[in-house]
């Protein structure tokens, strides 16, 4: 068991292209950290540097307090689960899991004990004699995890392990991974581009973009208090609405003036925070789930009412998404399926201004 520490890590490719631009990260023992971001954000490169599969251009990586920059992957005491599982196609499930231990010259009985133990945790005991070809996607995923578990390493590394699975299986394996982590408690670094995976699995989420860390924090904190426009838009589905607006100083209180002249009051509690931006152009951010139909007896404080005309209505079953265009800005509202909504007909909506965000368009930071 070990902590992992990244000190000003830089990955620079030939020609000076920087994939990772000096990131710092402290991962505690037993912690489950998820690196999330769009493709090309540097998350996989970071993971591969921790694994020792990529050279570190600058900075230091410490595993369990030791600098591992110079240590080859096999001596780092890590285990990795790959996106395409990377099972050895010519070996049985048992041999796949035993291979790492065999190379390390573990005694036979010890190997058997460990493999059987891992097989029990993952419920793949009956597959041990099969070849990977004869396994389903979910079973392959389990074997790949088993290969990591038997090694009992200091750190587990997961590189988008669920992206080759279909949607249903992905949800199932997500729970499985969480369960395994709760059982073995090994420090885990997990890379994904799927923010739902990140939210559901992580103790802490690291949002990366263009080779830098945008924000680190527990899932709920990222959801409620995003630090940047990128995080605000990346976390949550459907994504947060961003509407160009003006913060108007309407006498006693601040108002947000949307395109089309709609004016929404800023809650008093936020007035002080936003005071410095009064009179300036801002981005008004509100999540679809905070832009709903008008409900009777809705006692949420800071509700603002407005009437908008959807152009596309998507019934999803448990909810309906209404797409509204406000002078070029697309706005999505999440309304109850029982509310009659049709394209072209004005719809009364309630905005929960207590959940709003303002973004400075100059810096893209949340104010």
């Amino acid at each position: 068991m070990a902590q992992v520490k990244l000190n000003r890590i830089v990955k620079e490719y030939e020609g000076g292209v920087q994939a990772v631009k000096g990131i710092d990260l402290d991962i505690a023992d037993h912690e489950f950290v998820v690196l999330v971001g769009p493709s090309g954000c540097g998350k996989s490169t970071t993971l591969r540097m921790i694994a020792g599969l990529e050279e570190i251009s600058k900075g230091e990586i410490l595993i369990g307090g030791n600098v591992v920059n110079d240590i080859p992957p096999r001596d780092r005491d890590i285990a990795m689960v790959f996106q395409n599982y990377a099972l050895y196609p010519h070996m049985s499930v048992y041999d796949n899991m035993a291979f790492g231990l065999m190379l390390r010259k573990f005694p036979k009985e010890e190997i058997r004990r460990r493999v059987e133990n891992a097989a029990r945790i993952l419920d793949i005991g009956m597959l041990l004699d099969r070849k990977p070809k004869a396994l389903s996607g979910g079973q392959r995923q389990r074997v790949a995890m088993g290969r990591a578990i038997v090694r009992d390493p200091k750190v587990f590394l997961f590189d988008e392990p669920l992206s080759n699975l279909d949607a249903k299986l992905r949800v199932q394996m997500r729970t499985e991974i969480k369960k395994v982590h709760q059982t073995v408690k090994t420090t885990t670094v997990y890379v994904t581009h799927d923010q739902v995976e990140a939210m559901t699995l992580a103790d802490r989420v690291v949002v990366m973009n263009h080779g830098v860390i945008e924000q680190v924090g527990p899932p709920t904190e990222l959801y409620h208090k995003p630090a940047t426009k990128f995080v605000a838009g990346f976390i949550g589905s459907p994504a947060m609405n961003f509407i160009p607006a003006k913060l108007a100083n309407g006498g006693a209180a601040l108002n947000i003036v949307l395109p089309g002249g709609i004016s929404l009051p800023v809650p008093e509690a936020r007035a002080k925070r936003y005071a410095g931006h009064a009179g300036k152009e801002v981005l008004f951010g509100i999540r679809p789930e905070h832009l709903t139909e008008v409900r009777p007896n809705d006692h949420r404080p800071n509700l603002a009412h407005l009437k908008l005309t959807p152009e596309v209505v998507e019934p999803m079953g448990m909810e309906t998404l209404a797409h509204i265009w406000l002078e070029g800005a697309e706005v999505v509202a999440r309304i109850d399926p029982s509310v009659p909504a049709e394209p072209g007909r004005a719809l009364p909506l309630a905005a929960d201004m207590g959940q709003m965000h303002l973004i400075d368009p100059q810096t893209d930071r949340v104010i």
Partner: protein, 300 residues
Amino acid sequence: MSATAATPSAAIPGLGRRIGSLRKERRWALITAYISLIVAAIVMLAPPLYMLLTSLKTSAEISNPVGTPWIVRNPTLDNYWALISDPMFRGFFFNSIKVTVCVVVLTMVISVFAAFSLARMKFFGSQVLATGVFLTYLVPDTLLFIPLYQIVGALGLLNSTWGLVLVYPTLTVPFCTWIMIGYFASIPKELDEAALIDGANWMQMLTKIFIPVALPGIIAATIFAFTVSWAAFVYPTAFITRPDEMPLTIGVVSQLIRGDTFAWGQLMAGALLAALPPVIVYAFLMDYYIAGLTAGATKG
């Protein structure tokens, strides 16, 4: 949609005619295909068949043909027995086996290591070398046999099967390396990385992962090396003039032709016996054989 729904009675007979002509068209295509294939098969198989027929005839039957030469009237295995009991012919066979086994082993060792290195490890100039492999594959043996004749002669290996073992790799190594590069390159990179993390060194990665995973490619390359060295003709014709060092191809062509017409049966029997090993390999491993053949171009 609405148009067809409005006039169903008009649409259906027309449709019926179309289906009928489609079926007819398909049947004609199939008949043409089978006729072409049957004709092709007759043409392709006639020469080996005629060799077989001749090899089963007595010299008397060959020299005094009555009626069609395409049937055997008094089949006999005498020609085969005569060859099998002939120490010179057995010597050809032994020489062919010796040369082929040595060349196949040599080729596979050289090309598997080289292909692994070129496909995965990369070093200064490895790109140039990969192109070089491809180019040498294009150089035919008939361009090289004269300088090689001088070189082999200078090494004192003319009239020796070892001289052949030395030069045959020019025929086999480039192509085998080339297809092995293709097979190795198709192994996903994550597999090496998984092995690296599992603690394998380069040698273990090659022997425990790459060779077993690319086994079909290795079999295909081995078959290629085998058939090429077994069938090689230019080099032994140029370098070997002593019958006791000759491999089968040149042995049969040069030693069994005795100028008189009566040896035809034995000559055909010898040619067939000599052709047997590649044909057997082909019969049992056709899919690998074909994979190897096509890999060169499709992977190129």
